[in-house]
Amino acid sequence: MDLFTLMLLIPLVSGALLTVVGERAWAPNLNIVASLGTFLAAALLTVEIVANGPRFAFGEQFFIDSLNVFFVALTAFVGLTTSIFSSPYMKNEREHGRLSAGRLRLYKSMYQLFMFTMLAALTTNNLGILWVAMEAATLTTVLLVSLYRTPASLEAAWKYFILCGVGIAQALFGTILLYFAAERVLGETGNALLWTHLVEVKGSLEPTIMALSFIFLLVGYGTKVGLAPLHNWLPDAHAEGPTPVSAVLSGLLLNVALYAILRCKVLADGAIHSDFAGNLMMGFGLFTLLVAAFFLSRQRDIKRMFAYSSIEHMGLITFAFGMGGAVANFAGLLHMTMHSLTKSAIFFAVGHATQKIGTQQMDDIRGLMRVNPLIGWGLMLGTLAILGMPPFGVFASEFMILTHAMKHHPWATPVLLLALGVAFAAIFGKVQPMVFGETEAKRLPHAPAITPVFLHLGIVLMLGLWIPPYLTHWFHEAARMLGTP
C-alpha cells in the first residue's frame, strides 16, 4: 500500500478505532503506536521524496513537494513525541480526577483526527480542501480545548470556535475570490483551485482580485496563526486546554496556518507585480511581535505566558517571510522548525511541572530544580533556547532574520530588538524563580516522560551548531519555491 495513503489513513482509522475502544488499558499505547506508524510513514515518504522529487496522490488532489515534505515530517515527529508525553500526563490527570474515562477516549480519538487534518492540510494540492482541513482542525481542537469542561475551558473553547470560525469564513471568501480569478484563466475545469496549476498561470491572474483575495486569506488564516490583533483566542485556548493540546497547537497548528498563508502568498506575489503581500505580512509581523512582547510581562499563568511567546515568534516568522528573498525565507522556515520543536518541548516540561506543583500560577511554582532536576533543567534550557540564546538553533534563525533585516529594512531592526529585549526580560524574569529556589516536592503516580523534552532540545542544539546538508538543501529548495520578488 502506498506510503502516502498509509500516512493519511493511520491517524484516520486509529482515530475512529480509539472512539470505540477508548477506555481500554492499552489505548494510550495504541495512540503512541499509531503516531509512531504515522511518523515512520512520513519519514519513509520524506526519504522517498528527497530521493525521487515531488509526487502527486489521489489524482492531483494531494501532492508532496519540497515545500511541505519536511513540514509533514516535522508534524509527524512532534505528533509522536507529544503522544509519548501525553500518555503519563493524561494518566496523572485521570488520577487527579480531572478527567473521566470517556474524556480520555475523546481526547485520544480527537488527537488522532487532529493529526489527520493537519497532514491533510499540509499535503493537499487543492486550496478548497486546504480550507476544509483547516476548518476540521478547528473543530477537533475545539473539542480538545474544552476537554476539562470547566467554565474557563468552555469559555476558551467558545471564543476559539467563534473567532476562528469567523476567521476561517473570511479565508473561505478569499478562496472563493481566488477561484473566481483562477476560473477566468483556467476555465471551468475542476482544477481551478489546484495549486500546481495556479502556480503555472499565476502571472496572468487578475491583480486586483488577487489583492482582495489575499487580504481575506491573510486575515482569515492569520486569525489561526495568531497575528495581532486577531490573536485573542490563542492565549485562552492554550492556557485552558490540556497541556499536550497546547503543545500541538503551538507546535503544529500555527505552523500549518502559516503554511497556508505562504502557499497563497506565492500566488499573490506572482499575480501582483509588487511586494504588496510581503509588506502586509511584514506589517502584521512587526505589530504582532511588539504587542506580544509587551503582553508577556503581565502574565501570571505559565501556559498563557508561553502562548504569548508563541504569538511573538509567529510574528517574527511572518515578518521574515514578509521580507522575502532566499535568506529571509530560509530563516523563516528554520525558525518555524526551531520554534515548534522548542515550544513543544517547553510545554512538555511545563505540563509535568504544573502537575507536580498542582497549579499553573507562576507565583506558586518554585524550585523545580529541587522537585525534579530534569524537569527544571528542561524548562530552563528550553526557555533560554526560545529566548534566542546561543548555541541553541533559535539564535541561528534569529541571527539570519536580524542580519537580513539590517541589510534590507534597517528601520525595522530597532523594533525587532526592542521586542526581543522586552520578551527576554519578561520571560526569563518569570521562569528563573520557578526553576530555582526551594520548595516541597510531590510524588506523581506516573513517572513523567522526560525523553521528548531533551530529544527536542538536543535537536535544536545540534541545529544551532550544525545544520545537516540535506536539511540546508531542502530549506534552499523551499525558499526558492516561495520565490524571491
Binding site: 476548518e135 469542561r149 472563493i176 482580485i209
Partner: protein, 221 residues
C-alpha cells in the same frame, strides 16, 4: 439593461432578497423569528442556486442546491428551534447597540462592500456579476450581527448566515466551486452546528444561561 437575461434578473432578485433578509435579521429582536428568517434566507439561497443550476446546467450545482435546501433551509433551523425550546431561552434578545444605530452601520457596510466588489464585478464575465458585492455585504452584515448580539445562539445564527453569504458568493457569483469543496464546506457547517449544539448544553450547565457576558472571565487587563 435589457441585455440582461431573465435568469440573471431572477438571480439578482434572489440575491437582493437575501440581503434584505440579512437586514431583517439584524433588526430582529426575537430569537425564534430570527431563526425563521435564517431559514427563509436558506430557502432563497436554494432558489438562487437552483436558478444558476438551471441556466448553466452544471450537474453538481443541483447537488449543492439540494444540499442548501436540506441543510440551510430545513435541518439547521430545525436543530436551532429544538435547542431554543430545550434550553427555553427567553424570547427577547437585547442587542449591545440599539437597533437604529446598527441599521445605519449596516448601511455603511453595504456601501463599502459594493465599492470593494465593484472592480471585481466589472471583470466578471458571468451574467450575475452584481451578486458578489451582495454576498460580501451579507457576510459583513452577519459579522455585524455577531458583534452586536449578546446571546450565544444569536451569534451562531449570525455565523450560519455568514456561511449563507459565502455560499451565495460561491454559487451565484462563480457558478459553483468544485464539488469536493462544496461537500467539504457543507460537512464542516453541519459538524460545526452539531458541536455547537453540544456546547450549548454544556454552557447552560456551567453558566445556567446562554448569555455570553458570563464568558468574560479570561482576560489580561
Amino acid at each position: 439593461m435589457s441585455s440582461i437575461p431573465l435568469s440573471a434578473q431572477f438571480i439578482n432578485l434572489f440575491a437582493a432578497i437575501i440581503l434584505l433578509l440579512a437586514f431583517a435579521m439584524l433588526a430582529q429582536r426575537r430569537v425564534l423569528q430570527l431563526i425563521d428568517l435564517f431559514a427563509l434566507q436558506g430557502a432563497t439561497l436554494f432558489l438562487s442556486t437552483l436558478t444558476v443550476a438551471l441556466t448553466t446546467g452544471q450537474a453538481h450545482l443541483y447537488g449543492s442546491a439540494a444540499l442548501t435546501l436540506v441543510l440551510k433551509a430545513i435541518l439547521l433551523p430545525w436543530i436551532l428551534h429544538r435547542l431554543v425550546r430545550k434550553l427555553n431561552i427567553k424570547g427577547e434578545v437585547e442587542p449591545l447597540i440599539n437597533i437604529p444605530t446598527t441599521m445605519l452601520v449596516g448601511l455603511v457596510l453595504v456601501i463599502i462592500a459594493f465599492n470593494v466588489a465593484l472592480p471585481i464585478s466589472q471583470l466578471a464575465h458571468t451574467i450575475t456579476r452584481g451578486t458578489l458585492g451582495i454576498a460580501l455585504a451579507v457576510v459583513m452584515l452577519a459579522f455585524l450581527m455577531m458583534i452586536t448580539r449578546r446571546k450565544a445562539i444569536t451569534q451562531v445564527v449570525g455565523f450560519l448566515s455568514m456561511e449563507n453569504g459565502l455560499f451565495l458568493a460561491a454559487t451565484s457569483a462563480t457558478y459553483g466551486m468544485p464539488m469536493v469543496v462544496e461537500l467539504g464546506i457543507a460537512l464542516d457547517v453541519l459538524v460545526g452546528a452539531i458541536i455547537l449544539g453540544v456546547f450549548f448544553f454544556q454552557i447552560r450547565d456551567q453558566f445556567d444561561s446562554l448569555d455570553i457576558h458570563h464568558m468574560e472571565k479570561l482576560k489580561d487587563s
